[in-house]
């Protein structure tokens, strides 16, 4: 299967592209986890919501992809915030597992609301598809590069917010220690809302990127969700750089599996990556020990 370095380079490159598609939903998932301390399975639904919002903006209102991505972010963020306040927040006193289970139900609910209004048909964005560039036998898709850049830009923006703004510092403070942050005059409720908005928004942004590369239907987010969780867990739940790293590990792992093992077992690779990492570092690659 692998004859020379180009094949390896091609696999790594493919993995990078696959990974960059998982990155934003994984970051969204982990952002919510960092602040609220429960795994929000509904990121699958938020990704689908973003994909549909972007599709409406792009094909119905004629916005270019870049602006449609903004719409995807805003709508998914708003839906996420609304769902959080209405359905999940009241459950927080019952413990993180209760919220997690409710978020599974929420995914099913949102998927079916989308189905109610949009049906099951596959929908494509109104964009031309470009041929790949070739460098010495290695192929790179210009649009995939562009999507990767979009993903990196969104992730970079989040890093900048966390590092340089008051809001970001407050978020990190709450993530580190909610009680202490409370004492310091940071309103944990407000921070939680911001985290959910950003987390769901990034999932939606990622969902639209995914849609640009495929076609969308109510199951769009659901198809990638196991890989997204794998990315977040491998990187360490609650660690945002970890989620980005985890996405690349899982993406490359899945492409490797497609070549070295059997393509039918890609998801198994993601699962094995989880087990391998967790058995060595139970807190994930970049996570802190609990």
């Amino acid at each position: 299967m692998i004859q020379d370095w180009r094949d390896i380079a091609q696999i790594l490159l493919n993995g990078l592209m696959t990974g960059s598609m998982l990155m934003l939903p994984a970051i969204g998932f982990t952002t919510i986890f960092a602040v609220l301390r429960y795994p929000n399975f509904a990121v699958a639904a938020y990704a689908t919501v973003g994909a549909f919002a972007g599709w409406v903006a792009n094909t119905q209102w004629g916005l270019p992809a870049g602006l449609a991505l903004v719409a995807a972010f805003l709508v998914a963020g708003a839906v996420g915030l609304l769902a959080e306040e209405a359905a999940l927040k009241p459950l927080r006193p019952s413990g993180p597992l209760t919220v997690a289970i409710a978020s599974v139900a929420l995914t099913l609910l949102i998927e079916n609301i989308l189905r109610f209004f949009f049906g099951n048909e596959l929908r494509g964005y109104d964009l031309p598809i470009l041929r790949d560039w070739r460098f010495d036998g290695i192929r790179i898709g210009p649009q995939q590069v562009q999507n990767t850049l979009y993903a990196c830009a969104a992730a970079g923006a989040l890093f900048a917010v966390l590092a340089f703004t008051r809001l970001g510092r407050a978020m990190r403070a709450v993530a580190d220690n909610p009680q202490l942050a409370d004492i310091k005059g940071v309103d944990p409720d407000r921070i939680a809302r911001v985290a959910v908005f950003i987390g769901a928004g990034l999932a939606g942004f990622g969902g639209m990127l995914l849609g640009l590369d495929t076609s969308i239907d109510p199951l769009t987010g659901f198809r990638v969700i196991l890989s997204v969780f794998a990315a977040a867990v491998v990187g360490g739940l609650g660690s945002i750089p970890g989620a980005a790293l985890g996405a690349l590990v899982v993406g490359i792992g899945e492409e490797m599996a497609g070549v070295l093992l059997e393509p039918a077992y890609r998801t198994v690779t993601a699962f094995l990556a989880i087990l391998l990492v967790l058995s060595i570092r139970p807190q994930g690659l970049l996570g802190r020990a609990a």
Partner: protein, 410 residues
Amino acid sequence: MTKFRIGRRAALRRAAGALYATSAAGAVSSFAIGGKAFSQGAPIVFGALPPLTGAGGPYGPAMLRAIQAVVEEANAAGGIRGRQIRVVAEDDQTNPDAGVRGARKLIDVDRVSAMMGTWASSVTTAVAPLCWENRVPLFTVSGADSITLLPHQGFIFRTQPNSKLQIETGADFLLRQGARRIFHLAAQSPFAQSSQDVLVAKFRAAGGEVVGYTVYEREKTAFRSEVDAIMRARADTVFLNGYLPDVTILLRELFRAGFDGRRFAPAYAINQNLLNSLPHEVTNGAMTWQPSPDVDSGAFKRLERLFGNTAVDPYSAQTNDHAALAILAAAAAGDAGGVAIRDNVRRISQGDGEKVDNVTDGLRALAAGRAINYEGSSGPVEFDERGDIRGTKFRYERAAGGRFELVELR
């Protein structure tokens, strides 16, 4: 507070009224369908079990619409000897567990006299025993070869050709088109391996070669490495043996990679809906095939008209025939029981009878005591003793400018 109470009481009363109305309607209908014997006015009930959610979701809704369209037409034509037909649909959720529960309800509560429109092979195989145990014929579009090998006592009718027939004709077409090095890319399915066996035999016999065979995970969203393997194998043809969502991604990826060979897929995997969702230059030249009636088939044109703006996909063409076959068989038998339908399907679908391509003409001919041979929208619909379709023609089409054009029909 008082006002609220009154409001609530009124609402309760209204609810009770509605409840009474529905239960009364339920009583009437259960009374009506309780009597199996032929009595005027009692509707005949057909059960539809298409996938409306889950992986089959892109297909199920149109399949159901095709069934309903035929039933409406038959009802407008006076029904089956004066009896109206009612379709009760349950969502199989593309899941055998949900499918079995839905089938239970259709058989035990609605007392359907025929079941139609199951899509996933797993759902069909799961509900098949219920059907033959309860003497209800099952019309299906599922492709797994094993289905008609079940001990079904003649209760299964499959309008989708089995993989041997389907792949053999497809391979012959590709060989005619000059294909010699084919790459078989298949979603994991009950017919992936059997398709591969047929392809290897066919290509070897013609001096060609299957240069690669990959089974992929259907629910993935990126298939770059798979496409790289196709490029490396220097295939002149790739056979995309999958379904809409994954084949959409594969077509994009093949275009990006600059694959310039033939792309061939079942017509349910590349349909009009897919052509609408991708730029033309990506789909141009992609070829499909499906079982088909003659070019001038009235049945297919009627279905096209009924569907209006949306194109007819192979599965809807088949479920259209499911409903038509069940209606005409019941009319020919003069009995709407499951056994009568089973025993009369071949009587109205094959043989020397007058050729009809729609239920209106069919019902009229039967009422006049003439024998008929139904030619459907999915082909001549003739069944062998196992319940498999036989002697059907296939229609080969090529995508050009976002539409399909006919390449050949044989």
